[in-house]
């Protein structure tokens, strides 16, 4: 394997962790129509990846061959998505036991942001290979957590909550929500050129894994949390809390530790994508790229939080980014036809 290339397993682990983190932080109720909507969005994104795969097979690299507008869009998107992930951490802080160390005298959000930013800065500076390898190990722990949740959920599943009811709406909301949860698509586009294995294999493995994960976790959440879905703030986190395999001992601590590691790796992934794009746009920008990317994500988080940007915004942004490869492919084909 040549320098700075990652295998398809590492690639998939990295992106799936980012997706898993975004999905777990999802707020609000989820029903079967919404879950189907999220799955549909994932399927649409996998179709949107086809032009990107086609471009990559023709040795098109965003970092070297991409136009300035494409790099700028991806850069802005990555910064926005990194900020969104930070906001997710703030929102879930109480749910995942981040303690209030200053008794609310100094903002918890400030402290959490600084700590996570510092760790992400270190992780980003270690490079893509290090984070890819770490992602495989973290994904392994994530799979263990998932198995624990599935085993714990077996006795609590009530399939009747999966049925469609007249009051359920949300298929379209689910599609928008699904796009809003698919922010790692930007990193996918950026990192596809770093794949050491076949891009088709890499893409299929990643999207298949994502669809499977979303389907499984949606099924468990709806069937376990269904009764109290209306009062649940974070349905997926509640599902994990309710799915304890042992009656005498809770296992939330495993979930909490893995969750934070997922958060850091997800944010760092965006940091790496931003670093690469900064280098691509400003070739002389060598030093302090990691610091710049982390600072940019922090600023984006503050701005997005103040503006109280909702799911629709993220959904539209991801959807627009998803069509960028298709536009580029068509433009290149037209250019080749004109040249001929």
């Amino acid at each position: 394997m040549s320098k700075n290339k990652i295998s398809f397993g590492q690639f998939a682990a990295l992106l799936l962790i980012s997706d898993a983190f975004a999905i777990i932080c999802m707020r609000g109720r989820i029903g079967t129509p919404m879950a189907l909507g999220i799955l549909t969005a994932a399927a649409i994104q996998s179709v949107a990846a086809i032009p990107a795969v086609a471009l990559c097979r023709k040795n098109f690299k965003i970092s070297s061959s991409g136009t300035l507008w494409l790099k700028s869009i991806l850069l802005a998107f990555s910064v926005m998505w990194g900020g969104a992930l930070l906001i997710n951490v703030w929102n879930t802080a109480k749910a995942i036991y981040i303690p209030s160390v200053f008794d609310n005298r100094i903002g918890d959000k400030l402290l959490i942001s600084l700590l996570i930013a510092a760790v992400c800065l270190y992780v980003t500076s270690c490079g893509l290979k290090a984070i890819a390898r770490a992602a495989v190990i973290a994904a392994g722990f994530g799979v263990i957590c998932l198995i624990v949740v599935v085993v714990g959920a077996i006795g609590r599943i009530e399939p009747h909550y999966l049925e469609f009811t007249g009051s359920d709406s949300g298929y379209l909301d689910g599609i928008i929500g699904g796009f809003a949860l698919g922010g790692s698509f930007g990193a996918y586009l950026m990192l596809l050129e770093k794949s050491a294995d076949s891009v088709i294999k890499t893409t299929v493995f990643y999207f298949a894994g994502r669809i499977f994960f979303v389907a499984l976790i949606s099924f468990i959440t709806i069937s376990v949390v269904g009764a109290i879905m209306s009062i649940t703030q974070f349905p997926f986190i509640t599902a994990a809390e309710l799915s304890q395999p042992l009656s005498s001992q809770r296992l939330d601590s495993i979930f909490a530790v893995v969750f934070v590691i997922f958060a850091i790796l997800s944010i760092s992934l965006q940091g790496i994508a931003i670093s690469y794009l900064l280098k691509a746009i400003f070739p002389k920008f060598d030093k302090f790229r990691s610091l710049t990317s982390v600072a940019a994500m922090l600023c984006a988080a503050v701005i997005l939080n103040v503006l109280a940007v909702g799911t629709k915004f993220y959904g539209m942004a991801t959807a627009l980014t998803a069509i960028a490869p298709a536009i580029l492919l068509v433009a290149r084909r037209r250019k080749n036809v004109c040249v001929k």
Binding site: P99, S100, V101, D103, Y122, S125, A227, I228, I231
Partner: protein, 175 residues
Amino acid sequence: MRKIIIATIILCSMFLTGCGSADVYDKLYLKTLYITENSDCSARMEFFGDNSQDITAHGSSFEKVRENARISGGKDVFMGHCEVIVLDSVKDPAKLLTKLLNEWRIPPSCYVVCGKDLTTSQYSINVLTIKSAVEQGKAPECDMVTVLGELLGDKKSASVAEFTADGGFRLVTVS
């Protein structure tokens, strides 16, 4: 650069030592909560460990009740191990249980039963009694999630066991 960041984090953490945390013995661990909601609210709290620590508190709302319990007991009341919640004349059980689950972090496996005049009496409900009753089929499943689910569902009511001060129990419907 990295060394500076890491050293800064470690140094800062030394100053945060123990901030915002109470030691293990600095808390009262709630075992059973008896709640009454009439014109105002009152609660009797039984704790793990020493029975003499049991507290009865009153207030205009449940937040006030908890605050007053903290003042009476001299320590923070920790609710993460609560085993039984006894509803003794509560106006809106669904709202109360939602608050208890989401804000007060009562565990989802906590049992919810009804009680008659238990908040003011000294009668103590044993969680093993409820477990046996459920296992033997004499009482319905009455963990927090099940009861709350039924209250929030279509029927807006839940069937639970009701205990009285003389030790008897029967099935009632709360809504």
